[in-house]
Amino acid sequence: MSTTALTEETVPAVTPTSRSAGGGLGRYLVVRFLLIIPTVFILVTLVFLLGRTTGDPITAALGGRLPPAELAARVRAAGYDRPLLVQYGDYLSHLLRGDFGTTISDNRPVTQVLTTYGSATLELTVYALVVALVIGIPLGMVAGYLRDRWPDAVLRVFAILCYATPVFFAGLLLKLVFSTWLGILPVSGRASTSTELTLQLLPNRTGIYLIDAISSGDADAVPDVLRHAVLPAVALGLLTAGIFLRLVRTNIIGTLGMDYVDAARSRGVGELRLVRKHAYRPALIPIITVMGLQIALMLGGAVLTETTFEWRGLGFQLVEYLQARDFVAVQGIVVLLAVIVAVTNFVVDVIAALIDPRIRY
């Protein structure tokens, strides 16, 4: 839920690290990769400390429900009576070994929670990203080229409406229209009960329903899974599409005003080609960088979308654990999200660097 993109959408096309020639790219990639570490570390620390300000996780989750003596025993057994710094060091060393701990509310290994629900969130995010790209980029180019004419005005209002609408309200509206009134799409869930059962029995499940449905060979499973995905994907995708539209528009306007576009125009290059090649390609570098930052926004939106559509993914589960005050589970999910955000931003920066010849050479 953030319109962050608005304040920072034109990243300078050349990263300062790229100036000098020779081995620039390799060094840039290494430095950029190493930057992931402090980002993740800071977020892990932040979440750990925030979680502990309300006391130890066991008291937070079970306090009041267990007799004090038993509670104290469980706290001691879990090591939450030790100094905070010791617990922190302990937590970090476990994390490094891939041990995220065990949830308090339902007593499952956190890693199992992550792998079970992570695929659902991944699937939703990918669908939404496709929707956002397909809508946002072409419309943004149209709006940028036709700036200040009526199509641009219409598209801009559309974009603002997209990100002014909370994703859960958009979801509710879509449900109301397409499920309740028109009755053409399912209300919630990832698949109908029969399909769920079919997929549960599959030997090599990926957890990504579309892939599972295809491999199950069940002719009804694939359309069923897709029908369930339409509304959540559109709800989450529209939000991001609005931001992409605006981002592409601004950058296209920026590059259309550059001398090299005029120079190409003075050589007799056609207007369509000017937008598609000369304005779009250089604009792509800042666009991609900022799109990377939107991954955080999409994950935040996924939490709301999953709750709206009962899409059983990490976000849906996160809210349940938060309501149960199960901070071990919350910490695990948040750390995973932090890693995803940091790695995505790294990948995006690498792509931007590969597109920009000034960094490549």
Binding site: A13, P16, T17, R19, S20, R27, V31, M258, D259, Y260, V261, D262, A263, A264, R265, S266, R267, G268, V269, G270, E271, R273, K277, H278, R281, P282, I285, I355, D356, P357, R358, Y361
Partner: protein
Amino acid sequence: MSTVHDRSDDSDHPVSDPVLEVRDLAITFASDAGPVRAVDGVSLSVGRGEVLAVVGESGSGKTVTAKSVLGLLPQTATSSGVIMLSGRDGGRADDVVRVSRNRLRQLRGTDAAMVFQEPSTALNPVFTVGWQIAEGLRAHASGRLSRSEARARAVDILGRVGIPDPHRRVDHYPHQFSGGQKQRIVIAMALVLDPGLIIADEPTTALDVTVQAEILDLLRRCRDEFGASILLITHNLGVVADLADRVAVMYQGRVVEQADAVTLFAHPQEEYTQRLLAAVPSVGQGGERARVRAGERAERAERAAAAGETTPSGPVISATDLRIQYPGRLGRPGFLAVDGVSFTVGPGEVLGLVGESGSGKTTIARAVAGLTAVTGGSLRVLGTELNGARERALRPHRRDLGFVFQDPASSFNPQLTIAEAVAEPLIIHGGGRHLAAARARVDEMLEAVQLPASYGDRFPHELSGGQRQRASLARALVLRPRLLIADEPTSALDVSVQARVLELFTELQRELGFAALFISHDLAVVDLLSDRIAVLHRGRLVEEGTGEQILGAPEHPYTRRLLASLPVPDPQLQAQRRAEFRALSD
């Protein structure tokens, strides 16, 4: 246009069978302050194989005129009149003002091509130069143009404009070329379509003077070898004298005078043209002035001695084996901007530092002002050693040091009035706690730089560039410093405005007797003001001496090249100098 003196021909259309003919062109722009007429009834024509220079200062409408020939004006512009553009082989002529969009696209590149001012922005950074050259070919190819054929033609044209190793370089991206090479590529892009007319909009303004000479040579070849006519847009009268056959002088949207180059420089008719020519500093005026100043300096010293004043003796600046290195990123070696430079500036003396971009001249100025750290050798300014000095230690000396920055647009805080800005040194160094107390001195100083005292209440954006630069002088001199550093103070100004600022500088220097470090890329400007000149090249000081020594008998080959590449506003003299420059380059 009754005021136009057109002496190249008696008829209304001086050129028969012109490539370009502009009649009664008027262009209006929408602006915040309402419509602004940028071009007002301009008529011009360019004959086959001719170079017409349109010369004028900023705001004269010359660039707008050039862009309108290719229909490249922004949407806020409205034009009327006739722009007839005919192809290379005569044939059909089109009126660019009224032609269809599709036909306009066909005309662009083939009938007329454009060379831009800033080569680094005229090339798309994310495509190879070969791709960009081929794109123009494809846009105009009648049939399908094969990839290899387009590439072959790109390689060929790159070679012909003097890019070494074109087979390899054709696949390089723009940032891999130097500024001069980029401008060659931009010219190659124009030439590859074999246009009848090349419109060159300030083609050398962004380049160093030695590179400028090479690009001017290339443009001359465009006409001689490729048979293109050239419409040259420039503010530099030296460039005009070097290249132009005919000249049109523009002022405030109108053509005030048109004549062939030799006649115009020898016998300018219009008052504006005369003033413009007079304002151009030319090499060799400085010697006399320097001698006068030396006499005055001695006199002043005597007077001071007689009055029993103890002025601090010894040099104001003395640099010994000065080295300044900018730190490198991520453990890479840094960039050595200044490499073992030694010089001194005595009290009341003006040293001119001259050099091209990357020569280290601005770095030295910043180091003297304490803005850049000295990394080696010794730099003593007003008796304080700056190598290893801390910011706090420098502060007391700052009242004796004034600085004038290059860009008058950014050197004033936009939120403060001119008076507040000029008063700032007084307030900081205790000349008055508040603006009111300092105001008398501020008004006096504004008077000294010939600005009305009422301008003190204005904000910087309400002043013109020249006025701001004079206010900048007032701020630098308000504490009567012993040393003034001026970093390219006039390079952002028009030539007539530059002349005024330079004159003011000379007057104030004579009056106040401060020592100065005057930095410029323009030998003629430095010669005008300096007692001694130091020539910098790639961080090293290659030659130092009086103006007469440096300009009259330069010893170092670089100085000779620099001197020879400076175009002078006299076509015949310039032709001689061109020959000299060629001899030096070979």
